[in-house]
């Protein structure tokens, strides 16, 4: 415990997420829970993308692919094979991880803009493939048989169950993100980000490290996909492989500060709050996309290192606390 306290970079984000995540459990408010479900989901997605984007420096427009493929495989297990939720989650993670392994062996050879373009192509290719894939319901997707919720104590209980599962997952991602960053493996990733050729010369096995980073960043989104679509009750290609979401997750990482543990947490929470505020307040409702775009442009142009990066640069004393 004492040793944990000496690592503020780890416990600050975890405590933050825990406190925020327990609010609906204490008040029992379902509206609050739904809002926080989305918020936590984006915190977890942004933190997992950060392992690839922030540490390794590879821009991926396909992060949501892991969420989508995990969701589809898990949904299939639940609905058609009648597997329990835990098994479906494992299947979702496995599907996402296998896809990441395959992509790591192929498209991670590409660098910079070429890699970014390839991930964009993967997202579109998979979405259009699933739209044509009979067992997954084609363009209409699949709807969950409502009797499945009965195994989890009815729909109301099932929603709470997925919420707490997500909260636990979010904490796992943050711990994973911290563990990667403070490990030798993470140091290898950071050196790939700075200069891949130099890193290779210094003994970093770049292809293996990059693939590992991609697989690590894919597992949790795979599980989140299962939880999200289990809660949602239906799944369709346009929801599972939304290119817009991939880009929004990148925005969250950038907003908070890429390559930091706390950054994606703050970025995702901030962006998600801003968006729901704009969506629900009348004068901004129709202009929410423009306002979010304007905010993004200001961040890119004037604080390119995000909130945490900016704080670290301005206040040398917080560098030990904010990882």
């Amino acid at each position: 415990m004492i040793r944990l306290l000496k690592r503020p970079g780890l416990w600050i984000p975890i405590v933050l997420v825990l406190v925020l995540g327990m609010i609906p459990a204490v008040t029992g408010s379902a509206t609050l829970r739904e809002g926080l479900f989305l918020l936590l989901m984006f915190v977890a997605l942004a933190s997992s993308l950060n392992i690839l984007l922030g540490y390794t420096g590879y821009v991926s427009f396909g992060h949501i692919v892991f969420f989508g493929i995990g969701g589809y495989v898990g949904f299939y297990c639940l609905n058609v094979l009648h597997a329990p939720l835990v098994l479906a989650c494992a299947a979702g993670a496995a599907a996402a991880g296998l896809l990441a392994l395959g992509l790591g062996a192929s498209i991670l050879r590409l660098r910079g803009a070429y890699f970014a373009l390839a991930t964009l192509g993967i997202n579109e290719a998979l979405r259009s493939f699933v739209s044509n894939f009979g067992p997954f319901g084609g363009p209409i997707g699949m709807s969950l048989d409502f009797s499945i919720y009965r195994d989890y104590g009815g729909p109301g209980q099932a929603l709470w169950l997925t919420y707490f599962a997500l909260l636990a997952l979010t904490i796992v991602v943050i711990a994973m993100s911290y563990a990667v960053k403070s490990s030798k493996f993470g140091l290898g990733l950071l050196s790939i980000r700075e200069d891949e050729d130099a890193a290779a010369v210094m003994g970093v096995h770049a292809p293996r490290a990059k693939t590992m980073a991609l697989v690590l960043s894919s597992l949790v989104p795979g599980v989140i996909g299962v939880l999200f679509f289990f809660k949602n009750g239906n799944i369709e290609p346009a929801d599972a492989f939304r290119l817009q979401s991939s880009i929004e997750i990148i925005v969250m990482v950038m907003l908070g500060g890429f390559g930091t543990v706390l950054g994606p947490v703050l970025g995702a929470a901030g962006y998600e709050r801003l968006r729901s505020f704009l969506l629900t307040s009348d004068p901004f409702k129709s202009l929410q996309l423009s306002i979010a775009g304007f905010a993004l442009l200001l961040i890119i142009l004037f604080i390119p290192n995000g909130i945490v990066g900016w704080l670290r640069a301005r206040l040398p004393r917080v560098r030990g606390t904010l990882e």
């Binding site: 821009v59 373009l117 579109e124 290719a125 044509n132 129709s286 442009l297 890119i300």
Partner: protein
Amino acid sequence: MFDQLVASLVDGLLIGVVYGVAAMGLTLIWGVVRVINLAHGAIIAMAMFGLYYLVGRVGLNPYVALPFVALGGLVAGYVIYVVAVHRVINAPPLASLLATFAVNMMIIGTATTVFTTSPYSVNFDLGRVTAGSITVPGTRIVATVAAIAVGIGLYLFLYRSRTGRSIRAVANNRDAAELMGIPSSRILAFSFGLGTMLAAAAGALIATFFPFTVLSGDTYQLKSFVIVVLGGLGNPIGALVGGLVLGSLEGLVPVFMSASWVPVIEFGLFVVILLARPNGLFGARR
């Protein structure tokens, strides 16, 4: 069967050249400015609405309105470069990707408020041209001819004019070009404008025969990505040929299987080409 094949192929090739013009803009911006312009689709959509406005409200002939739309695209690109791109030109690629995406969000967000997302179309008819078993609307033929003319014009501009040579010099080596007295910042801004001008021209041409919504730009932007990779990133003439390849795919695939498989094949091919021949189908091997 054979007649149908030929008809589909001709149909695909005609539209492919027009797609190629939009892709030429994207690839030009990548080749010179080294930025992947994610606002390309927004410009294409805005050009469609620009044409709609000039034809429907002002009452111009579409082909008279076209140069004005293209000019608007040039100015818009210049402004986007100065406001959003210039500051991040030397930053890692992520910064410029997100900056242009932010511009995309602003344009699409504002346009959605003004036009909603319901479909629009420009009412214009040039009759039909029939050759054997093939019947094609006149607007499609004119669009193809115009697209080819734009392609030739761009080639002549890049290879024969002084500004064009400066653009190629900056694309080749910005520092060396600067040392030779070329104002590289101005050239970069102009190239960005030239790229968006091509996007605007393509958008306006497509609007003469297809209906469109505010969000149509995204579809054409994705097509442009595929074409650009087929033709080789940074190679404008390759983009025109890539457009032909994509167009004929779009024409021929539905003859053999359901049309919904077209994007699967397109994007599958896109990834394979990126992996196997990153310099494009016709580029030199590395």
